[in-house]
């Protein structure tokens, strides 16, 4: 059987791995919220540096996640490119000043403000990347559902996440098998056919996949019902771990970063840190 690595959980002994799923989930959410709200370069750089330190502690190697990093880089490059393509003067608007560094062609010039804006938007994305990757790479998928339940998500929704993780490899294998069998009947999605033909062809793979998934839903829900899922208002978790001192420290630290970060950001009455205005 083909090996299927879904979420790239990498088991290694490290303090980050030892934290409970709950602590890592809270950490990840706090980090996401902070990075979404703030546009303050100083806060973003601090978060990036902290992320890098934690990454080092986690024993995860860069090469373990090189593919993911590559994807992130491509995504960032494209995003920056499109922003510049559409609005080369956007930084000027945001930072309310204009220092031209050099012109390119037509309306496209390079200004310090535009570059600074690009720096910030890039920082906003990459300061979450190490934490998001660590969350995925260092958390046992078995802990996801119970962690969600502990921060207040209904256990039914939490269990849906667990089921998704459970059945991704099965669905993947089934997709592969069906598409191979259909390729033998001339159905090919990667070929040079017209878009419309390819969409129509995809149905030859998707319809059997969906019908079998609907069948699977029936079997799985019967199996769960027969073993008492949904009986009580709560449920306990075989894989849940008690929160230890380190977990509380991690949660406290993440929340502190969130609060301080937002405090610093809005201390000047705006979410932007504007070096150009101070220079004036």
């Amino acid at each position: 059987m083909a090996r299927v690595a879904i979420l790239n959980y990498i088991k290694r002994p490290s303090p980050v791995h030892e934290l409970t799923g709950t602590a890592k989930l809270v950490f990840f959410l706090a980090w996401s919220v902070a990075s979404m709200v703030t546009f303050d370069t100083r806060v973003l750089i601090c978060m990036l540096l902290i992320g890098a330190v934690i990454f080092k502690i986690s024993q995860i190697k860069i090469r373990d996640i090189s593919v993911v990093l590559g994807l992130a880089a491509v995504f960032l490059l494209l995003n920056n490119f499109f922003i510049y393509l559409f609005t080369p003067e956007y930084g000027v608007e945001v930072y309310e000043s204009r220092n031209v560094l050099f012109p390119i062609v037509g309306r496209y010039t390079v200004t310090a403000q535009q570059l600074f804006y690009h720096l910030n938007i890039t920082l906003k994305v990459i300061c979450v990347v190490p934490i998001a990757l660590l969350f995925i790479a260092c958390t046992d998928p078995s802990e996801f559902a119970s962690s969600l339940a502990r921060i207040g998500v209904s256990y039914r929704a939490g269990y849906a996440v667990s089921l998704a993780l459970r059945y991704i490899p099965d669905v993947q294998r089934e997709y592969r098998n069906i598409s191979q069998a259909q390729q033998a009947r001339g159905i090919d999605l990667s070929g040079k056919d017209k878009l419309f033909t390819r969409l129509k062809n995809s149905v030859a793979i998707l319809l059997p996949l969906i019908m079998s998934s609907i069948n699977r839903i029936e079997v799985v829900s019967n199996a769960m019902e027969l073993r008492g899922f949904g009986k009580e208002k709560k449920r306990t978790w075989y894989m849940q771990r008690k929160l230890q001192k380190n977990d509380w420290l991690a949660i406290g630290f993440a929340l502190a970063v969130l609060v301080i970060g937002l405090g610093v950001t809005f201390s000047n009455g705006s979410r932007y840190y504007n070096p150009f205005m101070e220079a004036l």
Partner: protein, 180 residues
């Protein structure tokens, strides 16, 4: 909120697994660097069959898992994916595809999916992007428009054919006679 039935929980789990797997299958489209997103056709079909809450969570969980395994979550688009499931699920609640399907129901489904995609990619995603990432409006709406058009076409063609196929497959035995 009403409790989710066991069947809905499972439909969400398996639906999200499908969303994830299809989202990871790259089918190149004519426009460089954008792929045909078959997962939205499947999300639309599941939202029609299992309702709005299943629709929301399939989009939310599925998209989060895709992002988390590629470049970290881009929340605005994740929420837009969930929104697509919500709107289609709400708009098709009384459609009862299990009882058979006709052109009226298919039009209903398609109107719903067009509205859902236009709102999701034309309004929800760009507005959230402005709030979160303060990206320039021009870029966001161009991007949103492209996504909306691509997803409307995909859902319109693939989703419609899937619903048709589903309805014809689950239909009960009629009084069929052999022909020589």
């Amino acid at each position: 909120m009403k409790k989710l039935s066991v069947k809905s929980v499972v439909a969400i789990g398996i639906g999200a697994a499908l969303f994830f797997v299809l989202g990871k299958v790259a089918i190149p489209s004519p426009v460089p660097n954008t792929n045909i997103s078959l997962q939205y056709a499947v999300e639309a079909v599941f939202a029609t069959l299992f309702g709005p809450i299943a629709g929301i969570l399939i989009g939310f969980i599925g998209h989060t898992l895709i992002d988390a395994t590629s470049y970290g979550p881009w929340w605005s688009w994740i929420i837009a994916s969930a929104f697509v499931g919500l709107v289609i699920g709400l708009a098709t609640m009384k459609l009862n595809v299990e009882d058979g399907i006709d052109s009226k129901k298919l039009i209903h489904f398609n109107v719903a999916q067009v509205i859902a995609h236009v709102l999701a990619w034309g309004v929800v995603a760009p507005v959230l992007d402005i709030l979160i990432y303060a990206e320039p409006i021009e870029k966001l709406f161009a991007q949103g428009l492209m996504a909306a058009v691509a997803n409307i076409i995909t859902t319109g063609v693939v989703g419609t054919l899937l619903l048709l196929g589903y309805a014809k497959t689950v239909v009960k035995k009629g009084s069929l006679e052999k022909e020589d």
